[in-house]
Amino acid sequence: MSDNFEPKIVGFMCNWCSYRAADLAGSARIKYPPNVRIIRVMCSGRMDPAFVLKALSLGADGVMLAGCHPGECHYIDQNYKAMRRYYMLKHMLRAVGVEEDRVRLVWRSAAEGEQLAQAVTEFVADVKKLGPLEWPDNWEENGQRLKALEDIVKEHQEAMEVN
């Protein structure tokens, strides 16, 4: 694997804490790798696992989820639902051969800009070690497919001529 692989990472962050932590990291000029494309969601509980699967299937190498610490959710207990879905999602990903470490859930409050930057730095390093995912390549048939289709067309045309 080439050393200059830069993973594409999608980060879904909660409006009330982690997204603000990222803001804080920015205004405090804390450096962290630019690999994460952050998408703001209203709550980590809004995170449909389909978002993660979609990101991976469209070419993301990793997905980071970030929400308020357990017990501190703006919507009472929705981050616990995020937690449960996260473990179910990892269970599912293992079943289809995706390294479960490509998805990570972290809890960061609005005051934890530095901790958020650190979590991103660690996650980027870990995904780098895993290498590219390149999921869409998984379902492309190899070059034999078009040849096989051509053969059928040719065979059928020949059969038509006989009749």
């Binding site: 449960r84 051969g97 999921w135 190899n142 078009l146 289709l149």
Partner: protein, 336 residues
């Protein structure tokens, strides 16, 4: 229904499927005579003596409606899907296989090599001392013999050619098939691209009593004797009714058997399995990460088979990761 009106042309074809959909068509019973009254069945290899070359000789769009069941697993099936698309005005993905890949699509959890190994070498009921496997090309003195190419990944019909309508179900229920045929005859079809069916879930048809869902432990069907009146999911049995389109009349839950999701997702759901496991996971009755993980791992040993039993090939990930020669994804030489 039609008096002296010119008959339409109807075709039925099957690809990677079990044949249940063909039988389901006959499940409409004597109404099949009404179908025959309104349509000339121009091609239906399972029931009538039609040849592919008859279809090839037709003009494009000559067939009014083609009900196509089965997924696309071989080059021959892809050829037929393209042919039926070209010759048909309306192409209907009929049944779960054509719609979502269904059970044949579960082989996407493994590779072609592994499927061949099981089927032609390891199966206990097999007698194959010479280890014969089908080959795409075989040379004989008279020339070359061809067999269709077996694909690594089963694709659904709409991943292969554009599809006008979907009729879900494994197999579609006879009443729903008849509703669709009537809609076609009366030209009251919904917008192209839609699924012909209802817009609610199996839960809405299920007579069981529902209260608050909290799951402390998942049970497999043989581990528990379910209460016949209470919601199965509330009893810890993984019932897929919450995410599955209605249309069957909740047949399975009424006989103490959980819904397994054959009618597929409701409108607007991109990934059936994700919708289902998201909902199921969120009602696990614990706030402790370790306990949550244990409840999931103990209770659902086969998540892909449980949540994507009918829809793996049509899911966002489509298949499991192929272990190619380069250790990761294989090289795709075919860009089409």
């Amino acid at each position: 229904m039609s008096e002296g009106k010119a008959k339409g042309k109807l075709a039925l074809y099957w690809a990677a499927s079990c044949g249940g959909c063909e039988i389901a068509v006959l499940g409409i019973d004597t109404k099949i005579l009404d179908v025959a009254e309104n349509f000339d069945i121009v091609f239906w290899p399972c029931a009538t003596d039609g040849k592919v070359r008859d279809v090839e000789k037709m003009a494009d769009g000559e067939i009014d409606v083609c009900l196509f069941n089965g997924g696309i697993r071989t080059s021959e099936q892809e050829y037929m899907a393209r042919l039926m698309r070209q010759k048909s005005k309306v192409l209907v993905a009929f049944g779960s296989c054509a719609h979502e890949g269904c059970i044949p699509g579960l082989s996407n959890l493994d590779s072609k090599e592994s499927c061949f190994k099981t089927v032609y070498h390891d199966s206990p009921s097999l007698d194959n001392p010479q280890g014969t496997v089908p080959r795409t090309v075989t040379e004989v003195p008279e020339g070359k013999l061809h067999l269709p190419l077996y694909y690594d990944t089963l694709k659904t019909l709409d991943q292969t050619v554009p599809v006008d309508y979907y009729l879900p179900g494994c197999p579609p229920e006879a009443d729903r098939i008849w509703d669709a045929i009537v809609a076609i005859l009366e030209q009251k079809l919904p917008e192209p691209g839609s699924i012909i069916g209802s817009d609610t879930t199996v839960c809405d048809d299920c007579p069981r009593t529902r209260e608050e869902k909290k799951i402390k432990k998942f049970y497999r069907t043989w581990q528990i004797k379910p209460d016949p009146d209470k919601c199965l999911l509330e009893q810890g049995i993984l019932c897929c009714g919450i995410a599955t389109r209605a249309g069957c009349g909740a047949l399975c839950p009424q006989v103490n058997s959980p819904c397994i999701g054959c009618y597929g997702p409701n409108n607007g759901v991109e990934d059936y399995g994700a919708r289902l496991f998201s909902a199921v996971a969120s009602v696990i009755d614990s706030q402790d990460p370790k306990e949550i993980d244990a409840i999931i791992k103990d209770g659902i040993p086969d998540p892909a088979g449980s949540f994507y039993r009918f829809s793996l090939a049509h899911s966002l990930l489509r298949r499991s990761k192929l272990k190619g020669k380069d250790g990761g994804a294989k090289v795709a030489a075919d860009a089409s």
